[in-house]
């Protein structure tokens, strides 16, 4: 049986751990608020850019824009977004699992798959498995900004225009609420604007005046929309990460509390047993002297 000292030492260790998890939870909560704010700020812009692009595509021919071209699916690129740091529950595992499953399905269809990773966790995951990455970016957790989205978009679009792959999917954690984050897989290229906008717009095409030209608009608007979509995914992922970490740390703190309670109980029992044993020794000794 463990001695009292051992148990006390363990209680102390658990208490220290719980202090760390509590602190991490607070930090995650603060970061979550910040990340969520940025995500919400971007939302109107990204909604509007799709609205504009949707209107544009209804009226003007894309003129064979390279990013809108559809090709038969022979090679697919997966862009996987994870965090840089762990201790955030199943956040990274979920994304990587979903990506692996999708990759397997594609390979079974005889489609070639290439991978790009954002976040240290994804990069290391593939490195450990000796899976080559086409592109990787790490160390941006918590400070992703638009220039990162641009950098990622540049790599993706150049690969797509160069026919290295025919479709691009984005795998990331979507932020639903603080308690739920869901792995989402979206098709990034060939570019399709979401059809969710149920504009009351009657389908008769409006004749727009274009300045300078419809082609000119396509040429700049489509890449921008792609950058925005990547940026949005980055922010969603970041917000989910902090939310996930917060929940994980909350659970860890709770578990630590339970453990301390249980250990304290054991410690008290051991203490009582020791006292009883000592008393019995003394009583036994006294009896022996009497005789």
């Amino acid at each position: 049986m463990a001695t009292l000292r051992d148990i006390k030492r363990r209680i102390k260790a658990v208490r220290n751990t719980s202090q760390i998890t509590k602190a991490m939870k607070m930090v995650a909560a603060a970061k979550l608020r910040k990340a969520q704010g940025r995500m919400l700020e971007l939302r109107p812009y990204s909604d509007k850019i799709y609205e504009v692009l949707g209107n544009l595509s209804q009226t003007a021919n894309s003129g064979g824009h390279p990013l809108l071209m559809r090709r038969p699916r022979r090679a697919v690129e997966l862009l996987v977004l994870t965090s840089d740091r762990g201790l955030c529950g199943a956040f990274n595992a979920n994304v990587l699992k979903a990506a692996a499953r999708f990759e397997r399905e594609l390979r079974q269809e005889g489609v070639q798959v290439s991978l790009s990773a954002v976040g240290r966790k994804a990069r290391d995951y593939y490195k450990r498995r000796d899976i080559p990455l086409r592109f990787s970016l790490a160390g941006i957790s918590g400070k992703a900004d638009f220039s990162h989205a641009k950098q990622i978009a540049a790599s993706i679009t150049s690969g797509y225009s160069g026919a290295m792959f025919d479709e691009v999917y984005l795998v990331y954690n979507e932020f639903r609420s603080i308690l739920t984050q869901q792995v989402k897989m979206v098709k990034l290229l060939p570019f399709e604007h979401e059809q969710t906008e149920v504009e009351e717009a009657p389908k008769n095409p409006v004749s727009y005046i274009f300045e300078p030209s419809a082609e000119g608009l396509y040429l700049t608007l489509v890449p921008k929309a792609i950058e925005i979509r990547i940026f949005r995914a980055l922010l969603e992922s970041q917000t989910s990460e902090e939310a996930s970490r917060m929940t994980a740390m909350e659970n860890a703190s709770k578990n630590a509390g339970e453990m301390i309670q249980r250990l304290t109980l054991v410690a008290n029992k051991v203490r009582q047993a020791t006292i009883t044993r000592e008393l019995m020794d003394i009583v036994g000794g006294v009896e022996a002297i009497k005789e």
């Binding site: 700020e41 971007l42 109107p44 812009y45 509007k48 850019i49 609205e51 504009v52 209107n55 544009l56 638009f146 409006v206 004749s207 727009y208 005046i209 274009f210 300045e211 300078p212 419809a214 000119g216 608009l217 700049t220 608007l221 925005i228 940026f231």
Partner: protein, 136 residues
């Protein structure tokens, strides 16, 4: 002119303006243009420059970095990479930036020329708009 124009100015950092206005003047890639209620549907690329909004007697000035504008059914959407109210422009910062970029461009080495140029243009436009606004 009873009709009003509904204007939205959005940037990646949030909504800057949303509401009914009388008249808008913007700097398009092909030249400046004005928009009133009842304007024909239009899509335009905006270059770096001033953006003025008239509502009744009041005129508001904005700085708009490059972006897009769409006009449809008396609704105008402005998608700007960056945008600021004239009164919010940090002139000192813009001045500093201008100086720094001019030096950088003069050296002509190791510079992402187009980016620096665009940055400089933005700084100059900011200063101009802030001054114009102050003069009113």
């Amino acid at each position: 002119m009873a009709e009003k124009l509904y204007l939205d100015i959005v940037t990646p950092h949030g909504k800057l303006f949303s509401g009914e206005v009388d008249e808008v003047a913007a700097s398009g890639a092909d030249g400046d243009f004005g928009v009133l209620a009842g304007h024909a549907p239009m899509m335009a690329i905006l270059r770096i420059g001033a953006f003025t909004v008239k509502t009744g007697e009041k005129t508001d000035y904005y700085f708009v970095g490059s972006g897009y504008a769409e006009v449809l059914n008396d609704k105008m959407i402005v998608l700007a990479d960056s945008a600021e109210r004239a009164e919010d422009i940090d002139v000192e910062r813009a001045m500093e930036k201008k100086k720094r970029l001019e030096l950088l461009l003069a050296k002509k080495e190791n510079v992402d020329f187009t980016r620096a140029q665009a940055s400089l243009e933005r700084a100059i436009a900011r200063i101009r708009i802030a001054k114009e606004y102050a003069g009113k």
